[in-house]
Symmetry: C2
Subunit: 385 residues, 2 copies
């Protein structure tokens, strides 16, 4: 499913093929938590050349429920999105959000936060759930400990993550053989845990790599940890990932972080920041983050970002968008969300072009200088879960 | 500005020309209270062939303020809408919403509900405000009494409405003569008051007609009164309006009401119901109002309305839209708003076609039978202000 096309240092341009279309990496996946990228319709996503979106298994199994989505032929049919979809395993949310959870070596028993119904997620249940969702890329069930976990908790999480990956491998192979359950073109990515421990990360990555999954994610990042710790976790993990498979940094990140992670060999990203920042009235620009609630923009006739090709910037002034946000008009956050997603798509295009031309090193230096005022490290925590 | 093209009984098809384009009547104006039709962008309005939108002077003078909008060349430039705009005078809101208002023969002194700033609206101020907004059709300042007002309060409101219209006429002629203040192509509609009194309605209409404005509205309807009283107010007023000018029933109405009002010679309508009902999860269809929160729609694969050409119906199921509404996803109310506005636009097209073909009588009978479950009379009150 993955083809490596260009490299410059550790940065890579690749191509991922899925049953719902191919796209180039490095790529950013907008998050459609409940089957909708907040405020944006599929037509707008296509117009922005969004290559792939992410759906959250935990939220969708709770509402509307997997059987509803299965009846619609999966999330593509249910949500009207015809492009590629990656689903998470539900593990991260069940560990961080679910009420009354009981964790065992078999998985996690918990209750729905909507109606209190008893639910269970383990490696097989997470695969089955994502088979119902019909995603193009499914994530394995893993244990994501808090970033403050001690060494023994980290080791136990790695042990469980490896054991669950082994069980997932067996289930995928068995179910594939019988021609049932798992969609024939669905791909599976394993998740490397291990916190800040180089030894645990290396062991987890090597064991998972030996099981030959279709791609590898680095988990346990973007969970509230300081940025240097996140970059360190990537640095100690990436050398142990097979170079011929896509690598995905889960839940990341700010524009400057994405550039730094591409430089460290990462191919895939997802983050709620483009739409979440929009709901707070903050727009991403190459000149830094623009806070549209600011009074000095009340008469500003310029677009959010001069030269930007998005519908918001082609049509409306900062003053009008600020007015909409102040008046709590839904169109305001729609327009800022559109701009922010467009900004991320443009960023990824520029990154791919720079690597393809062999000038990513220079691009990285220039872009980070331009984006420096974008770096709001406090927002990493806000981005979870 | 107005040309009568077809008539059938009292029902009329006409054409209104404005500086921002021409459109056919009967026509429905979506309401953009704060410079935005809630949740919908101008591109979507154009795609639905929305002929004209309405802006609220009271809300816009309070936020962002008239000077801001004047600086952007009016509401067209500020809000990115290039089609025709009608603005109300602010009178209705200032009588019903404003805090600490003091009414005199000169107008109404009140305070901003946003920052408490002292403001004043009278006939000249309302014209000046709408000149700043640069609307294609401006409404005269009138006094709209509650529907429960007694005879003397109704008579006083009619006296003031006539006196203010006379002052407006003088101001328009004087300002036009000097080449300033009022945009050269702006048109002005007077508003007939008089409640349920045939004598007051006739007097008000005749006096205003003698002043030769560009169009005439029937006010004091859709202010909480029972539907038969509303229809009666239209019936007693309409014969006194000049047939060669457009007639506008302010704040109306439900689909069945619009058909009834067209049958009574009305050409223009505005109402918040398409977007307000959408926010409550209710969709207009030819089979009645569909309440999308209903549990029995949770697995329903059909669109809101079979055969509907709107983006929501062409792309999404009732089950998905219900899921979005239950999950409080913004896309849910966007899609229902789109459908509801599209329904109103289709309704108006069918009405115009029926009149043009001389079969409006039959259309009215058939349509009212199909729409009967749409008639939720309690929502008339909800529609104000």
């Amino acid at each position: 499913m993955f083809e490596l096309i260009h490299t410059e240092g550790r940065a890579r341009v690749g191509k991922i093929e899925t049953a719902h279309g191919a796209f180039r990496t490095p790529a950013f996946m907008p998050v459609g938590t409940q089957g909708s990228v907040k405020g944006i319709c599929p037509r707008e996503l296509r117009e922005m050349d969004v290559p792939i979106i992410l759906g959250n298994t935990y939220h969708l199994m709770i509402r509307p429920g997997l059987e509803t989505i299965r009846r619609f032929g999966g999330l593509h049919g249910f949500a009207g999105w015809t492009g590629p979809i990656l689903t998470d395993s539900g593990g991260y949310q069940v560990f961080s959000l679910a009420a009354l959870r009981e964790i065992s070596d078999a998985g996690v028993a918990f209750r729905s936060h909507v109606d209190g119904a008893p639910l269970f997620l383990g490696p097989r249940e997470a695969l089955d759930a994502q088979a119902a969702l019909g995603s193009d890329i499914a994530m394995l069930f893993d244990e994501c400990p808090p970033w403050t976990a001690d060494a023994s908790a980290l080791a136990r999480a790695v042990d469980r993550t490896i054991a669950w990956a082994r069980e997932s491998r067996r289930a995928i192979d068995a179910w594939r053989g019988t021609g049932g359950v798992i969609p024939p073109n669905q791909r599976h990515f394993a998740i490397v845990q291990g916190g800040g421990s180089a030894e645990l990360r290396a062991r987890c990555a090597s064991e998972l790599a030996a099981m030959d999954f279709d791609g590898y994610a680095i988990g346990g990042v973007s969970v509230g940890e300081p940025e240097p710790m996140m970059l360190d976790a990537i640095d100690i993990t990436e050398p142990h990932l097979p170079p011929g498979k896509p690598r995905y940094a889960m839940g990341l990140g700010m524009p400057a972080q994405i550039i730094e992670l591409v430089a460290r060999g990462i191919d895939l990203f997802d983050c709620v920041l483009p739409t979440r920042m929009a709901r707070h009235g903050s727009a991403f620009t190459w000149g830094g983050t623009l806070h549209l609630h600011n009074a000095h923009l009340a008469q500003d006739p310029s677009p959010i970002e001069s030269g930007c090709a998005c519908y918001a910037c082609q049509t409306f002034s900062r003053a009008y968008i600020r007015h909409l946000l102040k008046s709590r008009e839904i169109l305001g956050l729609r327009l800022v969300s559109l701009h922010n997603l467009h900004f991320y798509m443009s960023l990824m295009t520029e990154i791919r072009d720079a690597i393809a031309r062999g000038c990513f090193g220079q691009f990285r230096q220039d872009a980070l200088a331009r984006l420096r005022s974008c770096e709001i490290t406090g927002d990493i925590e806000d981005a979870a879960p």
